[in-house]
Symmetry: C2
Subunit: 310 residues, 2 copies
């Protein structure tokens, strides 16, 4: 049995316009690097975190809490030590806490010989999400663990569907370096939605899922519309309208808020368009005068990956 | 060029639980039979209607109105005569008006050498629906014209997606012979829906569409849930709860209101289960003491069919 594993746990884009609270996809070029090793002492220890100032206290760290949730359903007589090279900035809206939570439980499951399936791992990782945001949501941890696009059909019981990913689908994600509290993003939403808008939303979910199954890029593009969150939450993101317009001008299929923001994602057919979209996004934020991070990535169809095993 | 065509235009189940206002599928064993022939006199004439007492006045007949909408976009120097053997009872909730509207425009399009595509035919047929219900909806005419399952992704512009149909999917439809006015069924619905329920609804739309693409009958079953219309509209249908329970007892994948009722549909994997479901449905209405029609049908993947050409 392996004793130590080094993994890449991807950043993820949740919601994906029409798929509010149910859809997400994984990125390939940005993610946390984590090393998880078996140690004789029972329990979980966060040994080291680099690149970000995050709590080492296991009950206050999302990866720690997720790992503890998993271990609580085992009888192992040893423990695990976690090192996190935190590449995804917290608060970016691309699943920073989810990557660490998902990575921890995925790696421990590997080291234990895979006693749990992916849906069970999602359940454990959601405990990390609960610590991070107060809500046990799965729309980031599911794509991190399953890879590609995922649909959370139901929470009770947890029912996650992996959706195919057309191979030329490239994401461009810009993270304007501003803070939006998840709680503020939530407050922007009403508890209800008009039946008319709700109907448009699920029509687009149907269209997006169809487009993903049939590699119909145009249909994917036509379906990337959000009547529920974007009209309200976009107000919290300076330059949003301009970014969106410039994405379409450059030929993006669609553009929306990643998770609850502030990151903005676009999906394009092919890398060439994705690069043009990236340039256009940069120009907007250079003009607005807000610093940003930028990611161009194919959709990561595999999810978490092993970098090294000892 | 053909001068006369006899067609079968199928009954259809709209809404399909989670797919309120956007999904529908076509039936194979119940539908209107229509004969459409070219005549020298311009315009449209409803020559004969058998089996139901419906208006022969072309502007008051759904097939007539749909046909006129099509002809208004042509320059033909002749006209068409329509005979309808009305096999689908009006007010049944299985797309009676849609079958006649769709059949008329489909047949005329055939006789004209197919100048219009199916989406354009939906647009014309929707004029018949407008006459019937006051609303230009497409969730019955689209499956009648495209066959199989259809998704209305958008009305402006009209965007209809044909979804694949797993071959063992069998519908059982019972039509309790009571009257529910579409306007009453509409009144049962609120103008708004909680975000929580709306999210569940589009998660299920995503699940249903995925299940249809992957022949995952269990997923189809799990996704056939309606948080929007069924809780309210089912109150208008005596025996609804019992029918639904008995469908599940017999192994149906799901059960819901067909359109706005009163018909109730169930979907099953395989004919054997569909037949058991039918027997169970019958028993409920025999006990309730309401007469009924019953249809067992595979999903009609072709839509309208030619019966005879002269």
């Amino acid at each position: 049995m392996k004793n130590e594993i080094k993994i890449f746990s991807p950043a993820t884009v949740a919601n994906v316009s029409c798929g509010f609270d149910v859809l997400g996809f994984a990125l390939d070029t940005v993610g946390d690097e984590m090393t998880i090793r078996k140690v004789s002492q029972k329990g979980v220890k966060i040994a080291k975190i680099t690149n970000q100032n995050l709590p080492l206290n296991v009950t206050k760290n999302v990866a720690g809490v997720a790992a503890l949730a998993l271990l609580a359903e085992t009888n192992v007589e040893f423990g695990f030590e976690i090192e996190i090279n935190k590449r995804i900035k917290p608060g970016s809206g691309i699943g920073s806490s989810a990557a660490s939570s998902a990575g921890a439980v995925w790696a421990i499951n590997e080291l234990l010989g895979k006693p749990f399936n992916k849906t069970e791992l999602v359940r454990f990782a959601m405990e990390g999400e609960k610590l991070a945001s107060g809500v046990t949501h799965a729309d980031n941890v599911a794509p991190a663990l399953f890879g590609g696009f995922t649909l959370i059909r139901s929470y009770k019981p947890l029912d996650i569907i992996k959706i195919p990913t057309p191979k030329d689908l490239i994401a461009t994600v810009i993270h304007p370096l501003i803070e939006i509290k998840t709680s503020d993003a939530r407050k922007m939403l009403s508890d209800s939605v008009t039946l008319k808008n709700a109907t448009k939303q699920w029509a687009n979910v149907g269209g997006l899922i169809s487009g993903l199954y049939t590699n119909d890029y145009d249909l994917i593009g036509r379906s990337l519309q959000d009547y529920v969150a974007e009209p309200f939450r976009s107000k919290l993101i300076p330059g949003y309208k301009d970014v969106k317009q410039s994405c379409f001008d450059m030929g993006a299929l669609g553009c929306g808020i990643s998770g609850s923001g502030p990151s903005i994602f676009a999906l394009s057919k092919g890398e060439k368009t994705a690069l043009k979209v990236a340039e256009a996004m940069k120009i907007v934020y250079s003009n607005v005068g807000i610093a940003y991070d930028l990611h161009i990535s194919k959709v990561n169809n595999k999810g978490i990956k092993i970098l090294d095993t000892i």
